[in-house]
């Protein structure tokens, strides 16, 4: 699912009418579909700059616009090959949207694109985080067994604060990685992305118990 860095850059001008295109997959001008390589950069598909910071509303707007034009239902009575092309293209657009709209998946994508390690290759979390998570987990379980609502509320606040903090760090590291990846940033981002999963598990635990 990773796009390789050397993937051919898709045209920014339509191959048919040679007008500039907002997205490489569909020309608004001559209304022609341009299939792109299956590993085309997700940001490129939406004509967005390759940055972590992203206007989610704008992404969704572009996603809807693109889908309006390439969805296979628009080609239901076309030749089977055309339906096939649009089906694959729509799947590609959906995948790009699914990843970019989620801050964690987006950071993970930028990390992979910059040659960072996968979660299966490097499992470590930032120093001290694991101990803190384990302590919180114990406190949550204890509060649940005592049915201590006030303590649980306080714990929920602490976990949410921790989540917000980690997310902020992920954001600034991902921005750095998107811009000019340094080996150190890659490693740190990997660690924080592993770490945020632990915090999210705590959140799930709290929502199950309360």
């Amino acid at each position: 699912m990773t796009g390789s860095m050397e993937a051919a850059t898709p045209p920014t001008k339509c191959t048919h009418c040679h007008q500039p295109m907002r997205s490489p997959v569909f020309c608004q001008n001559c209304r022609v579909i341009n299939p792109v390589p299956p590993d085309t950069d997700y940001f490129t598909i939406f004509g967005l700059p390759r940055r972590y910071q992203l206007d989610e509303k704008e992404l969704h707007k572009r996603f809807l616009n693109l889908t309006r034009d390439v969805h296979p239902d628009r080609f239901a009575t076309s030749a089977p090959e055309t339906i096939n092309v649009t089906m694959r293209l729509a799947a590609q657009v959906n995948e790009a949207h699914e990843v970019l709209k989620d801050p964690v998946l987006r950071a993970e994508y930028l990390l992979q694109q910059a040659g960072g390690k996968r979660p299966s290759e490097e499992k470590g979390a930032p120093g001290g985080m694991l101990a803190e998570v384990m302590e919180l987990r114990e406190q949550i379980e204890e509060a649940v067994s005592r049915d201590d609502r006030t303590a649980l509320e306080e714990l929920r606040r602490r976990v949410n604060d921790m989540h917000a903090e980690v997310q902020e760090t992920v954001a600034s590291l991902a921005e750095a990685v998107a811009d000019q990846p340094e080996a150190e940033d890659l490693q740190e981002l990997r660690a924080y992305l592993n770490g945020i999963k632990y915090v999210r598990n705590l959140q799930d635990l709290l929502s199950d118990k309360v």
């Binding site: 699912m1 809807l64 889908t67 309006r68 969805h71 296979p72 239902d73 628009r74 239901a76 009575t77 089906m87 694959r88 729509a90 799947a91 590609q92 959906n94 995948e95 949207h97 699914e98």
Partner: protein, 615 residues
């Protein structure tokens, strides 16, 4: 014939009732005509009855009327068996008077439920095809032309095997299923016709045998499904069963009788359904059953009692609702409107609970029994290109994955992913010279493969022999817009396309479907003739009209004799098409007419060319 102008019908193939609708520029309408041309409500009970003496097959209300008399040869609720194995449905067989068996002549590891009637086995898609054929005939009578293409709805929570089974049923009925659409989404489309602003919508769909809830975002012309949840084995049938069980238990206790003969089961079923419906209007309903020999079972069932019995079932739908909201990252108060779909949403407890969940009254402007078929027709008009102001974006209800080493479920596509959705995975060999790889493809949310549903074993064949671990087989999984999985594979080193052979766990192979389609043609020869007649009559109208046009334009360029002969033939051919039911004769005369007008057509074309050059 011109494929572009061929109509596309919308079909709601329900557990208890089915409907067919068609849309034009003015919007969708339910077809309320029987195959014989009589007017009716358009609601076709999903029943197929086989006459024990003659073997004649009837569908709909007529079939339902046979149910008590011939319980063993009257099939209903077939939707519950679609895409299922015998093992899946064993627990509910005591509610079904007809005989369900494990299908004979299956491949290794496969398990398909079938129905045994008069010494023959029918798979659920074959039975569904009989209902579809009836709906198709209704549409043909209504439209006055043959119908070959359809949109068919399924519960949103249907898995791949159930969707495939539905598409197979269409194929067996001679229909090209252009699209499988989720029922709640179809309902939203029907409502979308009078939608005015961007809103977040929930569709609560409780039908005869299935339950779905979908959360949708409306953005002007795009209807975007955000999440869906449900239960493919929960519906009005189950509410009836609560009443049946109550009666069976009490009769057992009071009279020491066990009432489970097929005829009584069938009688109890329609009886329980009536009681349920009455309890939606009234606070209580009397029950009286004559057990013979002066024994009469009597009691009054109050709405309170009924609600207590069905409450656990209704709560399951509420849990699903909350899950769907959580999956869409929304809170109940974010929902602007709840649309109720399916006959079971008439039950007061259901309405009350849904209103409590979202804190507002549910919306029921359209007939909850017709709205799905209407939506299917709208989707058909979108596909036909008639309706270009609307688009539907749906999701897959279940995660898709593969069995990994150690029996775990390795997820590739998450539930609620927008469809079409894709994923790729790399496979290699474990033995030197290995040329095929088997993959167990799964659907479900559980951690272990054995707790998920196996779609079947996909066998990758034709891998070039290489040392173990060297081949790199890229397998692409694509869930299409119908929610149906397509798998392709390519070996990277050789660039060779590997073939993928699928042995569906609970479905039919392509070959089996093709054979059933052929068999159904033999069964439905009369149907075929009727179709052929409609087609031929259309062709006669078209060809004679074209000839007339050509005559008007270039008739004076022909010999007077030739012209007269063509004019006579036009009249004769039209009269024949109108009066005769002999398809073969119409075909032959039409053929002769075609040959006779070849010269006329040439003259017309040449004249046309000259005109375009000079003009």
């Amino acid at each position: 014939m011109n494929r572009e102008n061929d109509p596309i019908i919308g079909i709601d193939l329900g557990t208890t009732n089915s409907l067919v609708a068609v849309a034009n520029e003015a919007g969708p309408v339910i077809i309320r005509r029987t195959p014989d041309g009589a007017e009716d409500s358009g609601v076709v009970p999903s029943f197929a009855a086989f006459d024990p003496a003659t073997g004649r097959i009837t569908i709909g209300a007529e079939a339902r009327a046979h149910a008590v008399e011939n319980p063993l040869t009257t099939v209903f609720s077939i939707k519950r068996l679609m895409g299922k194995g015998f093992a899946d449905v064993e627990h509910e067989l005591r509610f079904l008077p007809y005989r369900v068996v494990r299908r004979a002549a299956n491949g290794e590891g496969r398990d398909v439920a079938a129905i045994q009637i008069n010494g023959r086995q029918y798979t659920p898609p074959e039975i569904s095809a009989m209902i579809l054929r009836d709906l198709r005939a209704r549409a043909e009578v209504h439209l006055g032309r043959s119908v070959r293409r359809a949109v068919i709805t399924v519960p949103a929570y249907f898995d791949d095997a159930q969707r495939q089974a539905t598409r197979d049923a269409g194929r067996i009925a001679g229909l090209e299923v252009l699209r499988i659409v989720n029922e709640p989404t179809a309902a939203a489309l029907a409502y979308g016709l009078d939608r005015s602003e961007n809103a977040t919508l929930a569709v609560y769909d409780l039908g005869g045998g299935t339950f779905d809830v979908s959360i949708l975002g409306c953005h002007d012309d795009v209807l975007e499904v955000l999440s869906t949840h449900g239960d493919t084995h929960l519906g009005g049938d189950d509410f009836d069963r609560c009443i049946i069980q109550l009666v069976q238990n009490e009769v057992g206790r009071q009279f020491g009788l066990s009432i489970d003969s097929p005829a009584i089961k069938q009688q109890l079923r329609s009886f329980a359904e009536n009681v349920k419906i009455r309890l939606s209007e009234l606070g209580s309903a009397p029950i009286e059953i004559d057990l013979g020999q002066g024994r009469v079972y009597r009691r009054t069932l109050t709405r309170d009692e009924f609600e207590k019995m069905i409450a656990p079932l209704v709560e399951r739908t509420v849990d699903s609702f909350h899950q769907a909201l959580a999956d869409a990252s929304l809170r109940p108060r974010d929902i602007d409107q709840v649309v109720m779909v399916g006959g079971s949403t008439r039950i007061p407890l259901v309405r009350r609970r849904v209103a409590e969940v979202v804190g507002r009254e549910p919306y029921t402007a359209l007939n909850p029994e017709e709205v799905v078929a209407l939506g299917a027709a709208v989707q058909a008009s979108i596909l036909a290109g008639v309706n270009r102001d609307m688009l539907l974006m749906d999701v897959t209800p279940l995660s898709l994955g593969i069995e990994t080493l150690g029996g775990a479920m390795g997820k590739l596509i998450m539930r609620n992913a927008r469809i079409p959705a894709r994923a790729t995975e790399m496979f290699t060999t474990f033995v030197d010279g290995q040329t095929n790889i088997k993959i167990n493809v799964l659907q479900g949310e559980r951690e272990l493969a054995k707790d998920c549903r196996s779609l079947g074993v996909f066998e990758l064949k034709g891998i070039p022999p290489m040392p173990a671990g060297l081949p790199k087989v890229h397998v692409s999984f694509l869930i299409d817009q119908n929610g149906i999985l397509n798998v392709t594979a390519r070996e990277e080193r050789s660039g060779k396309q590997a073939s993928v052979q699928i042995l569906p766990s609970h479905g039919l192979t392509a070959e089996e479907v093709r054979r059933m389609e052929e068999e159904s043609y033999t069964f439905a020869r009369e149907d075929m003739t009727a179709h052929r007649l409609i087609d031929l009559r259309n062709q006669v109208a078209f060809d004679t009209h074209k000839a007339e046009q050509a005559l008007a334009k270039v008739g004076d360029l022909l010999e007077p004799d030739e012209r007269r002969r063509i004019e006579d033939s036009i009249r004769q051919l039209r009269r024949l098409a109108e009066e005769s039911d002999d398809a073969e004769r119409i075909f032959q005369d039409l053929d002769r007419f075609g040959k006779m007008t070849v010269h006329l057509a040439e003259v017309a074309i040449t004249a046309g060319l000259k005109e375009s050059r000079t003009g």
